[in-house]
Symmetry: C2
Subunit: 261 residues, 2 copies
């Protein structure tokens, strides 16, 4: 058997053997010794190389799969995943200074990180608010909302679907109800309409994706989604938008700052 | 066949059939018509009741499983899950006014929500910092940290494991290195030592759990975990703690406030 590009175990380490094996393979991926799409050494190869039981090797491979570094293809083996760039979402991403530069948050951030942003599947409808959206917006489910659906891509890879709900009373017959909402996006339009934004609240859940989400986001097996619902509040406390998003968990790290005071 | 406690489809609805079916079952669960541990009507029953194809029923059941409302037990059917209370984590959970009441955040919040909090599996070691922890704390991986591991439970159900890393230079021979860190927890102790806390940064990822996490958190199949890493910063900018946590995604909703200014 050909020599594997992996070191031996360190018997003096206090790190569990399966973690050491995962460390070696991760290091090989990070160094490019195992490149995107490459086959990871088989269970049999790893068992022989390290002199360990199959369960130990499986635990190691599961660590890497859990980290999103590899993907098991049934009957073919385990492969190094090709990755969309990870988008780090910071606490200040909706700060006015960004909005005033005329770009929507997604476009500005993705370009800033050297990626190529795109938005597709834009659909806009006027509909009755669902019970959940109505509650968040402080309206009734008799009231109408403008629903803006779209999908976000980075370098051609879908990373997020989102639906924004804005009270129809605010958005009907404005540019918010048009596919191209103009410079700075709908938050800039809301401010022009006199709804000066004060703060946002984001609620984050995580779960396994539904079938249509797997398709829309082209998710690899075993990749959960973030389900993030953001409510935008104007000065005075009125909720002016609810944005319901589903995000591929391996395209995003969410980052928030919390006060200690 | 006995009558199912489910309404008929609404052919005039613009909601997809599988979503209508999921809505009906969800409603029955929320109303207690289907209680914790009850068997959900079988695929065959649902196909007959609604007059739809098996794939439609499966899509409906997958919606509910994705929401964590049901769990499929191989060969036995689909059951309503028994749920730990969901802990909502707010942006102000580390505010000083909470800390000054002498309770650590987890205890205060869980009691506030009517749950019975417990902490177990507390272990404390002094060790060299990992590369990641060292980078976050602004120390070298030659430097030592005090590592406080523990598991959090609500009403006897494990919901989170956490390891706090504090520079040994700060925490060695203090109550931070004792199993009982005293009133208000380690953040209160850090402030007594002169490290007045200024803010926290939380980074959130989501992934499928590793085997040992499934065991430690008694996770149902298909429940991902949040991997949340929090860094605590003192006035002046020094990082004084890194807390690495793994949380059951169906025991938590994370909530954050973001500025618009």
């Amino acid at each position: 058997m050909a020599e594997l590009p992996l070191p031996d175990l360190d018997p003096t380490s206090d790190r569990a053997v399966f973690r050491q094996i995962a460390d070696h393979i991760r290091h090989a991926i990070e160094q490019g010794i195992l490149a995107e799409g490459d086959k990871v050494p088989s269970e049999a190869q790893l068992m022989q190389h390290y002199g360990v039981a199959r369960m130990t090797v499986r635990n190691a491979l599961q660590v890497l799969q859990g980290e999103g570094l590899t993907v098991a293809e049934h009957g073919r083996g385990v492969f190094v995943r090709s990755h969309p760039p990870v988008r780090r979402l910071a606490s200040d991403r909706f700060a006015r200074r960004h909005r005033e530069q005329g770009k929507a948050a997604f476009i500005a951030e993705t370009e800033g990180a050297g990626g190529k942003p795109a938005v597709d599947s834009i659909t806009i409808t006027e509909e009755r608010a669902s019970a959940d959206v109505a509650e968040r917006l402080g309206i009734t489910s008799e009231d109408h909302v403008i629903a803006r659906s779209r999908r976000y891509m980075i370098d051609g890879q879908p990373v997020e679907t989102a639906v924004s709900y804005i009270p129809a009373e605010i958005a009907r017959d404005t540019r918010i109800a048009q596919p191209d909402s103009g410079p700075g996006g709908i938050y800039a339009r809301l401010e022009e309409l006199g709804y000066r934004l004060d703060h946002f609240v984001e609620e984050i859940r995580s779960r396994i994706p539904l079938r249509d989400e797997v398709r829309a986001l082209k998710l690899a097996p075993g990749v959960p989604v973030f389900h993030l619902v953001r409510t935008a509040y104007a000065t005075g406390g009125r909720a002016v938008e609810v944005c319901d998003t589903v995000m591929s968990s391996d395209a995003y790290v969410l980052s928030y700052e919390l006060p200690a005071r």
